[in-house]
Amino acid sequence: MKSYLRPYVLRLVLIWLAAMIGIGASITLPLISEQVIDGPVLHGDQGALLPLGLVALGVGAVEAFMIFFRRWVQIKPVLGLETAIRDDLYEHLQRLPMGFHGDWQSGQLLSRATTDLSTIRRFLGFGMLFLVMNILQLITVTVLLLNKYWPLGLLVAASAVPIVVVSLRFEKRYIRISRQVQDQQGDLATLVEESAIGIRTIKAFGRRHHVFDNYDEAALKVYGSSLDKVRLSAKFFAFLGLIPNVTLALVLLLGSLAVGSGSLTLGGLVAFTTLMLQLVWPIASLGHILAMAQEAMTSADRVMEVMDTVPAIESGDRTIDTPRGHLRFEGVGFSFPGSDEPVLHDVWLDVRPGETVAIVGATGSGKTTLTALVPRLIDPTEGRITIDGQDVRDLTLPALRSVVATAFEEPTLFSMSVRENLTLGRLDATEEELAAAIQTAQAMFVYDLPWGLDTRIGEQGLSLSGGQRQRLALARAVLSKPRILVLDDTLSALDVETEALVEEALRHVLREATGIVVAHRASTVLLADKVALLRDGTITHVGRHNELLAEVPEYRELLAQDADFDPSEGALR
């Protein structure tokens, strides 16, 4: 937090200076009034009135100007801080690995990046200064009171004791509740997000009410906790209003006794009570400001929770100048955090430069997990993966990820122009390269879109057909001209004819690059030079398609459409 404020030290000093002068002015003003009444008015000294009056006006103007100055100057640091933290939070989130994003609901992340940061901004821009100024004002006035007549001043000072005690108790409870509310709001945001992104599914099943009920339940939770918060603060605020008034009554009583006994003048008592009335507002508004401070602190905690998460996947420090694309899995094992059963174990696989391997395995056997290990979207829990003999963990992430490109099983597109989606991994691609990648993926449909390559495709590409999305994702992977190209079941949404065309084109691309092709269909497997069969979490067989088909029954079962298929059940052959 401190480092965010460093660039603004001068401004901060100015702000505090302006605040001090402002307070000084606001305390001086009533004193001048007193002077006017005690001096010119009582003594009928008309001549002194005008100068004093003008001084009062001048001081008033200074006070206003100081407020303006302070507010104007603070804009930069306050917003600068908020913006910088948000930028950094975003940057940090982009760095945090898939594992983190899988565990964290995005609503929770979003509420940190927006609500929490605004809360902090509001406190810094308004609350913090007021808090300090209020307290300063309280102290100054109390000191003045002590100066005027110390026994009563002492009484006023003593009234701070219950305030402090109760404030501390309040703080503890308030922090708990406000944290609860903020977390629940994050959950609410998550539900909203799901309801918006999953709108097709909700509509397909007509589950509007069901989804609404879930949301309502969460909204009611927020409602309940917010009410708790309201109750707690109502009690506290009312208490803060009570204390100064009770003190005032006591001061009046004791003061009048003191006047009676002659140790205090009547004018002294009037001045004393007048000054004391100035304590009422600052104390009463202390409640709001303290609550705000608590909330800002809770928010800062929530933000720091994310910022303090160390990315589990750290960049190495080596690069490969001219990668050949020799990929090796050496005894690789992987288990998801929190599960004791490994998804992968003892995976050994050697893919020579330019070679293409098909990974074949049943649904849920770990193919996608295996491919995610290469660009280090996840890190193996055992063994290592090397590219050209270098452990991928020693490479810098940008270097590694420019060697490997993946076309995911889910296309993962963004609501930006087609061009931007395609050049995701290579902003500097030329038009020719773009055209070639589009050709390879048979994605020529993009030219027919209303604005061609500049057409914005809908969120997650959902204004395209399933096959169109998949081909865009494929073109994107091809465009980045990787040494190692990973295709995770990327032809599943294509019709047979288009698939054949894409396969034909991909053959050329794969001749140049090392390839990993995840496949459920024989036609895709044929893209590869050899096939690795993934079973029970490890690679059990590696060989040519025909060999495996002939020798390995499990393989045959997985790929041959007619394996143990009872003709009476309607097989086509």
Binding site: P40, T83, Y90, Q94, K235, G241, S256, G364, T368, S417
Partner: protein, 609 residues
């Protein structure tokens, strides 16, 4: 950099970055209507609230006055040996007033807090529900990020007003009014002088309101852009990281974030002028009254005591002004948010619910689907379905095949009434879909979409989504029927395993199986499967097909698939090309003929070897 950001977004047919906005007066009227509507159930409570707050403020204001009385009336008797009786009474009254104030203030805070939270809850419910009612084409243009921004950031802007602002504003306004009255009572002459700057104050406030309406609208819009980008990059984080998109994303985010900062800066600049402006007016008034009052005091037109009290009250009059301007600020911010929300609420669904829904003949769906001269286009110039005539008799299983982008999914979405056709009608059992009410339609027609979406929750929760009232056993049966039971039981916690955010802890094939089980559980008369088995391995696909034979026996089905293995269970095959049905007939007949399907089928057979 600016050019970069304007182009990355690309061009869309209809810029619906924000809802169309006409005149700002109209907007204010719209949000005022919403506000009135939200407040109307609390008329009684608000009356109560007013009473309580008036008492509270009266008590609060009485205290300085009582102090003055105490000094003026209580002390002289004590000085003259008369004893402290009067003083004690006054002190007692002060204490009573203080307690009254505290009690009523607490009551006020609680009551107003409850009303505020209830309004907020109601607002959340309404907006959420309305978003769910709005059609798919709306959501496609509006994007989820904006939905989220409306329901989080905008609602919170209003929450802030209701939590802190409301209380402060009302208290401050009442304090001011009460003080103004006291000022006038204390001395009419001086009081009128003190109130002279009021018109200036009002003019100034009006200026602020005008300016801030514009500025705050901008903050709402810019924050929405930040949220949209944030949500999208987090949703697609896998691709972002794998393709080293981070620096570019950061650049874009920075720019959007700076835009938001700019809007916020404008609003803070406005307040930076507004607040001290008010202070200045207040201080000048105090100074003026001081001089003028002193002048009057010379002429014995006011007493010194009155002047002192007057100055005291005058300060008290302007003190809350600071509060008011601070809260006025939250009010404006909330106003801008309310404007956005009321805009959403006034958006009419373009796939509307019928006014007087028609029942299905015989009360329940039999599943006959008919397209009559149906035309459809997402974008006006580019018709996807030029003219479609098609009848699917009840109980028939139809396979729909064709090149990618041919319009298969579009046809299916029309049966599910995700969209309404631009021309012609779609009928279910002879009834136009547009005249069926939502529950009837959704019960009759269920579609497994190409992009199957799982909600966070357990596997069982996700299957149950197909029929919320289903029992555990029915859920298991459904999973068993389509061959998903084995893999689910093998999960660490079986049916109670969390699927993770968007089903992220399942493999692609597993997600499809769960989505399939969900549709099976829903048990509709018309089942639409859009590429529902594309990510499955061959044995699982075969299991599903086996199950389909039984499942589809007594219902209408539309199966879209590229793997022609699915087609063999169909009674009829439709081949689609560029939005038109080019071949139609039973599978064997089409295979035997030498048309497109025969070609497709041969290509598929070749691909299997």
């Amino acid at each position: 950099m600016t050019t970069a950001t304007t182009t990355w977004r690309g061009v869309a047919s209809e810029e619906q970055d924000e809802l169309p906005e006409k005149v700002s007066v109209l907007l204010r009227a719209r949000s005022r209507r919403l506000l009135g509507d939200l407040l109307s159930p609390y008329k009684k409570s608000i009356a109560w609230l007013t009473t309580v707050i008036v008492i509270s403020n009266a008590a609060g204001l009485a205290i300085p006055y009582l102090v003055k009385v105490g000094i003026d009336e209580g002390i002289p008797p004590m000085l003259h040996g008369g004893g402290p009786a009067t003083m004690l009474t006054v002190v007692g009254v002060i204490l009573a007033a203080a307690v009254t104030q505290a009690v009523t203030r607490q009551a006020f805070l609680r009551l107003s807090g409850r009303i505020g939270q209830s309004i907020l809850l109601e607002l959340r419910r309404r907006v959420f529900d309305h978003f769910q009612r709005l059609s798919l084409s709306f959501h496609e243009k509006y994007t989820s990020g904006r939905v989220i921004s409306r329901l989080t950031s905008d609602v919170e802007a209003i929450a802030e007003l209701l939590q802190a602002g409301f209380d402060g504003l009302v208290t401050a306004v009442l304090t001011m009014i009460g003080t103004a009255v006291l000022l006038l009572v204390l001395d009419v002459h001086l009081g009128l002088v003190a109130l002279v700057p009021l018109p200036i104050l009002l003019l100034f406030t009006r200026w602020f309101r005008r300016q801030s309406a514009i500025v705050y609208r901008r903050t709402r819009e810019t924050v929405a852009l930040v949220i949209v980008h944030f949500v999208e990059s987090m949703t697609g984080i896998r691709a972002v990281q794998a393709f080293r998109r981070e620096p570019r994303n950061q650049e874009i985010f920075k720019e959007l974030n700076d835009g938001y900062r700019g809007a916020n800066a404008s609003s803070m600049q406005l307040i930076a002028v507004f607040m001290p402006g008010i202070k200045l007016i207040g201080n000048i008034t105090v100074g003026g009254v001081l001089i003028y009052g002193a002048y009057l005091a010379f002429n014995q037109e006011v007493t010194v005591g009155v002047l002192a009290a007057f100055l005291l009250y005058l300060r008290q009059f302007y003190e809350p002004m600071q509060e008011i301007s601070q809260f006025y600020n939250t009010l404006q911010s909330a106003g801008a948010a309310l404007e956005k929300l009321s805009g959403v609420l006034e958006e009419e669904p373009d796939v509307p619910e019928p006014r007087d829904p028609q029942p299905l003949p015989q009360g329940r769906a039999r599943g006959k689907v008919r397209f009559e001269d149906v035309r459809f286009a997402y974008v006006e110039e580019m018709p996807i379905l030029p003219n479609l005539d098609l009848t699917i008799p009840a109980g028939q299983s139809v396979a729909l095949v064709g090149a990618t982008g041919a319009g298969k999914t579009t046809l299916a979405k029309l049966i599910s009434r995700f969209y309404d056709p631009t021309g012609g009608r779609v009928l279910l059992d002879g009834v136009d879909l547009r005249t069926l009410d939502e529950p009837t339609l959704r019960q009759a027609v269920v579609m497994v979409t190409q992009e199957n979406f799982l909600f966070s929750g357990t596997v069982a929760d996700n299957i149950r989504f197909g029929r919320p009232e289903a029992t555990e056993r029915q859920i298991r049966e459904a999973a068993k029927a389509i061959g998903a039971h084995d893999f689910i039981s093998a999960l660490p916690e079986g049916y109670d395993t969390e699927v993770g955010k968007r089903g992220g802890r399942m493999s692609a094939g597993q997600r499809q199986l769960v989505a399939f089980a969900r549709a099976f559980l829903a048990d509709p008369a018309v089942l639409i499967l859009d590429e529902a088995t594309s990510s499955l391995d061959v044995p699982s696909e075969r299991l599903v097909q086996r199950a389909l034979r039984t499942i589809l026996a007594d219902r209408t089905a539309l199966i879209i698939a590229h793997r022609l293995s699915t087609v063999e269970i169909a009674d009829r095959v439709l081949v689609m090309d560029r939005g038109e049905i080019v071949e139609d007939g039973p599978p064997d007949q089409l295979i035997a003929a030498s048309g497109r399907f025969a070609g497709l089928h041969q290509a598929w057979l070749d691909s299997l070897s």
